[in-house]
């Protein structure tokens, strides 16, 4: 992640019309955006497409960026919305659950540790997607975007205490959902 001072300098150059600044911002942020979308979607190809879509939307909405939060955090919000729009968009394909059920090993087959970890990660991903909107973005930005709590608080326009309360609430809900899924 770009340091705040460096990011401010890049944004200042961007405001002055420096196209290289935009390239530098992309270079510094696209891996995190891709990682976040990979965690959200569980599909690298889809994440790559959504990353492009995220930057496309970001350039179009660059006028609404007010500088409260870092540019990367602002991108996380756009990426999350882009993924949700992709999931909710009606498509003539099978739902994600059914699509992935085919790839998941049967419960009756002996599984190695990697397979178990992948299964747990998949359940965790679904549990995160089932969270309320504000909790979902907070968890995704904090753990999958590596955004500090203070940065998320600035992006959301609320206090850090409120962000921590959101996270604790999300932990409890995730534990409950994962336990129900396991049973």
């Amino acid at each position: 992640m770009a340091e705040p001072a460096e990011e401010r300098a890049l944004l200042a150059s961007l405001a002055a019309g420096d196209r290289e600044a935009a390239n530098a911002l992309v270079e510094r942020t696209y891996r995190r955006v891709f990682a976040l979308l990979c965690k959200l979607s569980g599909d690298a190809d889809l994440a790559a497409d959504l990353t492009q879509e995220t930057y496309r939307r970001a350039w179009a909405a660059l006028g609404s960026f007010d500088g409260r939060a870092q540019f990367s955090t602002w991108l996380y919000r756009i990426a999350t919305n882009a993924f949700l729009n992709h999931v909710r968009r009606p498509r003539p394909v099978q739902p994600l659950d059914e699509e992935h059920e085919r790839t998941l090993p049967d419960s009756g087959v002996r599984q190695d540790d990697a397979a178990i970890a992948a299964q747990i990660q998949e359940r965790l991903r679904k549990a995160v997607l089932a969270l309320p909107e504000e909790l979902r973005f907070t968890v995704a930005a904090r753990f999958w975007g590596d955004a500090p709590v203070a940065e998320i608080a600035r992006a959301e326009g609320i206090s850090q205490v409120a962000i921590r309360k959101r996270l604790n609430r999300a932990y409890r809900m995730l534990a409950l959902v994962l336990q129900e899924a396991a049973s």
């Binding site: 019309g17 992309v26 990682a35 350039w59 960026f65 534990a175």
Partner: protein, 381 residues
Amino acid sequence: MTKLTTREIKRLLAARGTPQPPPGLADRIKAEIPDVLQLGGVGPQPEGVRGMPPRVPALRPLWLLAASLLIVIGAGFVAVRFFAPTSDLAREIALGGVVRIEDVVVTVPERSTVERQKAGKGIAESVDLDRRVPAPARPGTHTQVASSRPAAPAGGPAPVGALAVTVRDGKEPIPGVTITAARVDAAAATPRTAESGEDGQAEIAPLPPGEYTVRAEREGFEAREAKVRVAAGAEDRVNVAMKPEAAAAAAPAAGKRAAADRGAAGLPAPETAKGSILVTVRASDGSPVPGATVLLSFADRPDVGCGFRSAGSAGVATFCCVAPGAYRICAQSPGFLAASEERVAVPAGRQVTVELRIERQPADGTARPWTCPTPRPAGTP
């Protein structure tokens, strides 16, 4: 799966293993960067001003300017309200008291209820004092011509009263009457005077509480005098009935009736130089008829009565202060038939003697009317 703890949830969420971005993703993204990029606002905000209202950076200077203006205006209002000199009379009286008041005509604007409440009860009396001072003379209004006023004791305003005098002749107001109010219990105090206006009203205010002798005087009218007690904080009203000097000698009832009749008939008022009529009522045998009623009316308008008198023990009734002119005189008494003298000329300043003889009433009582007939006016059917 057993229930996961918060620590385990955090560990799961923080687990790595994300695949690397596909090659060329960054280039594809960079290729889609538009030629013109419009950054919103004024760019990133410095840390120190974050959180200050409003959120829109462009409005922040305006917000600071408006807040500064409000603070300056508020401070100025407080300074003016408490430290600046004021010309408010009630406030000056409240702060400094009253040492002496004389020959002051003050026009006080209407004050709001809040100011009155702030001024308090003590000031309220001073304010009333000022309000009682009449406005400059206007046609049809009374005027205060007081030469001096009693000074209020030093150290605070003294309670005062007021006197409103109405002077009338019957129902008619009398203008130009000099009203004098002199204190009974303080002979050394200078009497206060006022003159009645066209409405016959005069006001003397403020007046220290006490007992006053109020005297109403005007040339051509009988002076009247009355004692009035003026109370603090109140306006005492005095009605004074004045009579013309010539008419004052006549009987009050006869005078009132004659004046009313004259006014109703549209006849001219009696002149200053007047005459008198001496009527002697006798029976047909020449003996006086005491207690006989003598009626006086105009000869030309016998339907308009000028008054009546009762004859004395000698059968004599006197009409004094009668305006010069022609009159009709009729006498009547129980058990007698009425008799009249249709036209009696009364010259100015002279006394006219009239003798009326009345006959005893016949047994049948139909020969002549028992009471004085009231002839119709000349020219009416």
